[in-house]
């Protein structure tokens, strides 16, 4: 390497456990102290004209702290005044020198935290033009999804202009102080549109075979290289577009693009999989961690420049092994560091158990597509990094706090309140912490990862001195006896039964008992309720080869699941032969079956041995019992209104700050 750098990790426990993550690597002429990178992610935090905001600077500063000397890459910038390249309402712009001061704030923040500052050029192509009528692409191929704009074909002049805009923007990013420049060519953005046989049908020199389709990319790489001096230039390209159903590139063609990018001067390759228009799940929790590493391995077999990859590499042991095995060079992260910006730092310091775990729900990305600012399902501080109201600060008055319920809401509230200096006692009638998640984690397709949030909050609670009183039912007498200053009720929802005839029969069972294996369930099952608990238990039972029918009162199925995940559940229900009746209710339950009544009064007989109740209601019993005591009471989580894990965690965190 020839250069001493300030990062010496050898004394840290993380170095001993994961030595491959904390060894240096050379990218071009730049030495990177470790193998960790926060990968570029849009956050919709910038202003409507593309100027950088305080929120974005703080967001990036926290991630820069987290990479402990590694690479922190800011979101991709759009580069054209006409905004065809803009894919997100809060995307940063770089089409004029007036943006340089704002971009410099980001570069400075990253460097002040000791990280290496990277920035990305991103023309969003056929998934862009959020603020204008037409998007741009190499050919007029309509998108599969309605939300995107019609495609306007780029002339050769348009292509030349677009390449120039990349070059000019790269120059501005260098002026802003970024040390690495990256080109985004993934998921359906413009570069990938040129590369893919699905979207590039041109017959001129910018189309044809894979070499023709790469011409625009090659000219862009070569042009950018000329203006960025010694700075490394990276590129993100699909290793597998997952577009075989629409005649996308073959894996062999993708490897040719990697080799050509290397030949053109790319200093590293960020390996990705799938387009937004792909019909396969790629990064959600139903995909096991490490599933895509074979793509990194394939890249390593075809190119010599360093290979980076994100895509379901949440557990540091997986990238550590992959780097050790020589199939990966740099561990990239987006969502895991949205959930916990200091993830790698905690790994290094031997505090893995304090990492707030991403649950791979994709709500962060789903919001971006709906013009909403970044948020995180389980990290309430995400995108509020700049706002002191979201930070944990010492309480002005120390209180004795009784938290009733050791589920997600109660535990979150507990550790936050305890870190603020309160004396916190958590009570639960069960022997274990976790509340509803003890059973909910049994649902298939990755739901066991939901419980990691409980592990995190329990560790944080223990370290903050929270006292646990398990197997203890809280009564008015107990509250009276303990004399807390504040009671936080986190008792979870009530699981209810319907009012139709037959709900009192022996073949009607509760969702938690079914998931816990405590209830006998026949071969033909009706699940009452079409929200997440109903979907989870339906799939749990369908996986046991039972014939399952969901009957739900909500007009829309799985309304409490974000749309970016819901389509997967739809597919899994179809694959497992589950029938769904939305906007319906149970009119009667008998020994042999259920009569389903549609919203408009039609009757459908459904064979069923067992009915599983999953509907929930607010649970105010304890509140009503103790409110006469005059103690300060907060209510959080599903007891207020049954919702989801995210609401429980966010409720818990916010009340933890308020006490």
């Amino acid at each position: 390497m020839g250069e001493l750098f300030k990062w010496d990790y050898t004394d840290y426990p993380g170095y001993k456990k994961y030595p491959h993550l904390f060894k240096p690597i050379q990218i071009g002429k730049l030495t990177i102290p470790n193998r960790i990178k926060y990968a570029a992610t849009e956050d919709n935090l910038n202003d409507k004209d593309g100027f950088i905001t305080d929120a974005d600077v703080s967001y990036m500063r926290e991630r820069a702290k987290g990479v402990v000397g590694g690479i922190a890459c800011m979101q991709g910038v759009y580069m054209d005044k006409k905004r065809h390249g803009q894919g997100y309402v809060g995307q940063a712009a770089c089409w004029d020198d007036k943006y340089i001061p704002g971009l410099k704030r980001i570069a400075d923040a990253i460097k002040e935290e000791g990280a290496i500052s990277a920035s990305q050029l991103m023309h969003c192509g056929r998934v862009g033009a959020v603020e204008v009528e037409y998007c741009q692409g190499p050919s007029p191929v309509p998108q599969r999804l309605r939300i995107f704009r019609p495609v306007e074909v780029m002339s050769k002049d348009d292509i030349k202009r677009c390449i120039d805009e990349h070059i000019e923007a790269a120059d501005r990013l260098c002026q802003a102080g970024f040390e690495i420049i990256e080109i985004s060519g993934i998921v359906g953005y413009l570069i990938s549109n040129f590369i893919s046989s699905y979207t590039n049908r041109r017959t001129d020199e910018y189309g044809g075979d894979i070499r023709g389709r790469m011409k625009m990319v090659m000219e862009t790489i070569q042009g950018v290289k000329k203006v960025i001096g010694d700075r490394p230039l990276g590129i993100r390209l699909c290793s597998d577009e997952l577009l075989d159903d629409v005649r996308g590139n073959t894996p062999e063609e993708s490897m040719i693009t990697y080799q050509m990018a290397e030949e053109a001067g790319a200093d590293y390759m960020s390996v990705t999989a799938g387009w937004q228009e792909a019909i396969y799940p790629v990064i959600s929790r139903d995909i096991p961690q490490g599933s895509w590493l074979f793509l990194a391995k394939r890249a390593k077999e075809h190119i010599k420049i360093p290979v980076q990859m994100a895509y379901r590499l949440f557990d540091p042991a997986i990238p550590n092994k992959a780097i050790g095995d020589g199939i990966l060079d740099i561990w990239e992260m987006c969502r895991p560091m949205i959930a916990d910006p200091h993830l790698p730092k905690k790994v290094l310091e031997g505090r893995e158990d304090e990492i707030r775990p991403c649950v791979a729900c994709n709500v962060c990305l789903a919001r971006l597509f709906r013009d909403a600012p970044m948020t995180c399902y389980i990290n309430p501080v995400c995108a509020h990094d700049h706002d002191p109201k979201f930070h944990i600060t010492p309480a002005e008055t120390m209180k004795k706090v009784m938290i009733v319920g050791a589920g997600a809401a109660g535990l979150e509230c507990a550790w936050v309140a305890a870190e603020r200096g309160h004396e916190v006692h958590v009570y639960d009638k069960l022997r274990e912490v976790g509340g509803t998640l003890l059973e909910a984690r049994k649902a298939p397709y990755g739901d066991e990862e939901l419980y990691y949030q409980i592990n995190f909050a329990k560790v944080k609670s223990d370290k903050a001195g929270v006292q646990f009183h398990l197997e203890t039912e809280v009564t008015t007498d107990l509250v009276d006896e303990e004399m807390p200053d504040t009671v936080v009720l986190a008792v979870g929802p009530k699981y209810i039964k319907g009012i139709a005839p037959g709900f009192d029969r022996a073949n009607v069972v509760g969702v938690l008992d079914v998931l816990a294996g405590k209830a006998a369930v026949g071969d033909n099952v009706v699940v009452w309720g079409n929200k997440k608990p109903g979907v989870g238990v339906a799939l749990f039972l369908a996986k046991q080869k039972k014939k399952v029918t969901i009957v739900g009162k909500n007009k829309d199925f799985a309304i409490d699941i974000n749309p970016s995940f819901r389509w997967r559940y739809n597919a899994y229900l179809r694959q497992n032969g589950v029938t769904v009746y939305n906007d319906c209710d149970i009119a009667e339950i008998t020994d042999n079956g259920v009569t389903v009544m549609t919203y408009d009064g039609y009757m459908i007989p459904v064979k069923a041995d067992t009915v599983v109740c999953t509907e929930r209601a607010p649970n105010q019993d304890l509140k009503n019992a103790i409110k006469e005591l005059g103690v300060e009471i907060f209510e959080i989580g599903d007891m207020v209104i049954p919702r989801n894990l995210s609401s429980a965690v966010h409720d818990g965190y916010k009340v933890g700050l308020r006490i």
Partner: protein
């Protein structure tokens, strides 16, 4: 609460036909209103603009359902199947029949409610054929643009022309 299955199916069947009728009636009601608003325009041109809008929406519905995974022959049948499903939704009796080569199928409408409504609303029957042809042409163009295919569709027989059935040939030239 025993379910009277015959009664339930009968109610649903009537409801379905009512909804199908309303869909087509709405088009002709819209046509009449639009012609009234623009009395100097050619009524068929107005109607065809309506068909065009329908076709573009139909094409957008088709795209997410298309897959080339099983090859071109299966894809051709898949496209034909989408036309069948669409017209079945209107209440037509329609099916796909094999052609003389793997890359040819025929879509056969044995019964279609659209011409009857055209008569009820005093719309010329030739406009009905032209409208259908336009819908098929626009949608197949969208499919071709999306999947880089070059399928053609042509009308060989039409119920509104008194030929008993509608017969369309979908093929790769």
């Amino acid at each position: 609460m025993p379910v009277d299955a015959e009664k339930e199916i009968s109610r649903l069947w009537r409801g379905l036909h009512g909804a199908q009728d309303s869909t087509i009636k709405t088009f002709y009601q819209w046509r009449k209103a639009a012609i009234g608003l623009v009395p100097d325009a050619n009524p068929s041109e107005i109607a065809l603009k309506g068909w065009e809008a329908m076709a573009q929406d139909m094409g957008k519905l088709f795209l997410p359902r298309l897959s080339f995974s099983k090859g071109e022959e299966a894809f051709l049948k898949q496209v034909a199947g989408l036309y069948v499903n669409t017209w079945q939704g209107y209440g037509a009796v329609v099916k796909v029949e094999p052609g003389t080569s793997p890359m040819e199928v025929f879509i056969k409408w044995e019964r279609c409610p659209w011409p009857a409504f055209a008569k009820d609303f005093n719309a010329p029957l030739k406009e009905d054929v032209a409208g259908c042809d336009l819908v098929l042409q626009i949608t197949i163009d969208m499919v071709n643009a999306f999947m880089n295919t070059n399928f053609k569709i042509e009308t060989q027989k039409a119920i509104p022309r008194g030929e008993g059935i509608c017969l369309r040939r979908l093929y790769k030239p």
